[in-house]
């Protein structure tokens, strides 16, 4: 079983990203997923998170993820908002980060001790392909680099979630992000 935590800001499509990942692995890879959304007093721009568990067997646990195997961060500024994205991490936990700056990715790796950091400028990929600063689809492309899901499944799930027209644009953003993702 793989435990994943997504962090982002309200409006970045964090919950939608978790649902899309759930579609990708459940429908296109024959696995099982449970999303555990944390609804609260969110507003646009405030830090939000959501959890997802993925397994080849039906997922029984229905509670929040406290020890993530993968942490995905959609906005590099999140650490300035009193959020510790390394909370509960273990020695194999990896980070997927939205940043244009390799030195920021390096500082996340050094400061928190993630095993690997996958980073890409997902905001740029989103603006480039969908014309909006909503990096969720692109971040799923970066997530595919960890091997938890294939980029093809992500593209198919994005088309299903967003419909043919917006779906293709989001899938293109994911593909571009996938190809540009660096690992350190």
């Amino acid at each position: 079983m793989i435990n994943i935590k997504f962090y982002g800001l309200g409006g970045q499509g964090v919950v939608t990203a978790a649902k899309t990942l759930s579609v990708a692995v459940s429908i296109y890879e024959g696995k099982y997923a449970v999303t555990i959304p944390a609804y609260g007093h969110e507003r646009r721009g405030a830090p939000v998170y959501t959890d997802i568990r993925i397994d080849s067997e039906p997922v029984l646990a229905n509670c929040f993820v406290y020890e993530p195997d993968i942490v995905l961060v959609m906005d590099e500024s999140i650490r300035e908002k009193n959020i510790d994205v390394s909370k509960g991490k273990h020695h194999d936990t990896v980070l997927v980060l939205n940043t244009a700056d390799g030195s920021v990715a390096r500082s996340y790796k050094d400061a928190y001790g993630f095993k690997d950091v996958f980073y890409v400028d997902a905001t740029h990929c989103a603006l480039n392909n969908i014309g909006l600063n909503i990096p969720n689809g692109a971040m799923l492309g970066a997530l595919a680099k960890t091997g938890v899901v294939t980029i093809n499944s992500i593209e198919d799930a994005l088309k299903e979630t967003f419909g043919e027209k917006a779906g293709v644009k989001n899938a293109n953003a994911a593909r571009e992000a996938y190809e540009k993702t660096e690992k350190i």
Partner: protein, 402 residues
């Protein structure tokens, strides 16, 4: 051919109500039920569901309208949560007393005060004596399946009792999961058209029902409801078996999980039951002899099955997502205690309160309950608040005129 859909709990409830071809919908939106009211409205306005959608001004009206509509001979739909269910309280008893077999998803959310949007079971527990059947769901597949089976159980001529299908707010209502949805024709075959089997209303020939009933008949009418509940137990078992035969998924009113040779068992309801099973598997792999008992049907409560399945188990932990204030224990604990043969005095049935107002019942919380029940030496049998913080008595205290 049945096919997989990705649905959250609310969407699964809507899908089941849609496939049951409800003809009148009267729902008042309330978090976390809102998307049920909204999606039913979309289905009607898009012409996908041929039904009349009534925009009512409260849950009291929602249930009243549903009762009136269903009495004319159609399936009526509504759904609610928390204070919405509390506002329905008066009319819930009208539905059950008039034997109107409405199927209603209840998205479990704490009652106020303190104000909360999040999950616990106090809302539906407060209605446990309102004459409704109550099923509790572990996952989103169960939401679809229990709503679908709910029509068969509630509408059976020997039952004619409304049913709440309870799903945990957010943990199920907003959790997306893969759900196997049958073909419309299969659902049609399974639940059939709605047929009036008791009191009815004819709009072309209006009349008054639910009239004043004297002490001379009141007791007998309540007794009829009691018999309805007794019949519901048998009908439910039959419907579960028929469903299994047709759709391949096996359900029971009480589900045992790895009970063979178990020495300690957690009894639970709702979404936490999945987490309990997960922890049972973890502890079993460490050689610990633990199991789980999931209560699907809280009303009627199946003391026969609980007693049989817990036979020989000495350490029983009962977790409730409601406080049971002022009582010796929480509602589920009382039921379990009274189900077990009194002969064996060495059986410990311990009560745990947790997961109130949206507090997560985590893997760690469940482990803590197992550790506590397996190492219990105290004589104190008052409920253990398993996840309360140490500062409980220090927060939000207002001192005035002390």
């Amino acid at each position: 051919m049945a096919g997989y859909m990705m649905l959250d709990g609310n969407e699964a409830a809507v899908q089941a109500m849609k496939m049951a071809k409800v003809k009148v919908i009267s729902a008042y939106p309330i978090t976390p039920q809102s998307s049920i009211a909204e999606k039913l409205s979309d289905l009607v306005s898009d012409g996908i569901l041929k039904a009349k959608y009534l925009r009512v001004e409260s849950e009291h009206s929602a249930m009243s309208a549903a009762i009136g509509a269903q009495l004319t001979g159609v399936r009526a739909a509504t759904a609610t949560s928390s204070v919405g269910l509390a506002l329905m309280h008066e009319v819930l008893n009208v539905a059950s007393g008039c034997r109107v077999p409405i199927v209603m998803p209840v998205v479990n959310r704490a009652l106020v005060s303190p104000w909360s949007l999040w999950c616990d079971h106090q809302d539906s527990m407060a209605e446990r004596d309102s004459g409704w059947l109550q099923l509790y769901c572990e996952n989103v597949q169960e939401v679809f399946d229990f709503v679908t089976m709910g029509y068969r159980i509630a509408e059976h001529e020997d039952v004619l009792t409304p049913i709440m299908v309870c799903l945990d707010g957010f943990f199920l209502s907003h959790s997306m999961q893969k759900v196997l949805i049958p073909e419309q024709s299969e659902v049609d075959e399974f639940i059939g058209d709605y047929i009036i089997k008791n009191t009815y209303l004819d709009p072309t020939d209006p009349m008054i029902i639910n009239n004043l009933t004297s002490p001379d008949e009141f007791t007998e009418m309540r007794y009829q409801q009691k018999v309805g509940f007794e019949n519901a137990a048998k009908v439910m078992d039959e419907v579960f078996l028929e469903f299994e035969e047709k759709f391949g998924r096996a359900y029971r009113a009480v589900e045992g999980y790895r009970l063979g040779d178990a020495e300690a068992v957690i009894v639970s309801m709702g979404s936490m039951s999945g987490t309990v099973k997960h922890v049972v598997n973890m502890l079993r792999s460490e050689g610990k002899k633990v199991g789980a008992l999931k209560i699907v049907s809280f009303r009627p409560f199946r003391n026969d099955l609980v007693n049989e399945m817990l036979k020989g188990i000495k350490r029983i932990a009962v977790i409730d997502r409601t406080a049971g204030l002022g009582s010796q224990g929480t509602p589920l604990w009382h039921e379990v205690c009274n189900s077990i043969d009194k002969a064996s005095s060495d059986v410990i049935v311990k009560n745990y309160v947790g997961g109130l107002g949206g507090r997560d019942i985590s893997i760690e919380t469940i482990k803590k309950v197992f550790a506590d029940i397996m190492d219990d030496h105290s004589q104190n049998r008052s409920p253990v608040w398993i996840d309360v913080k140490e500062n409980a008595m220090d927060i939000r205290q207002v001192y005035i005129n002390v």
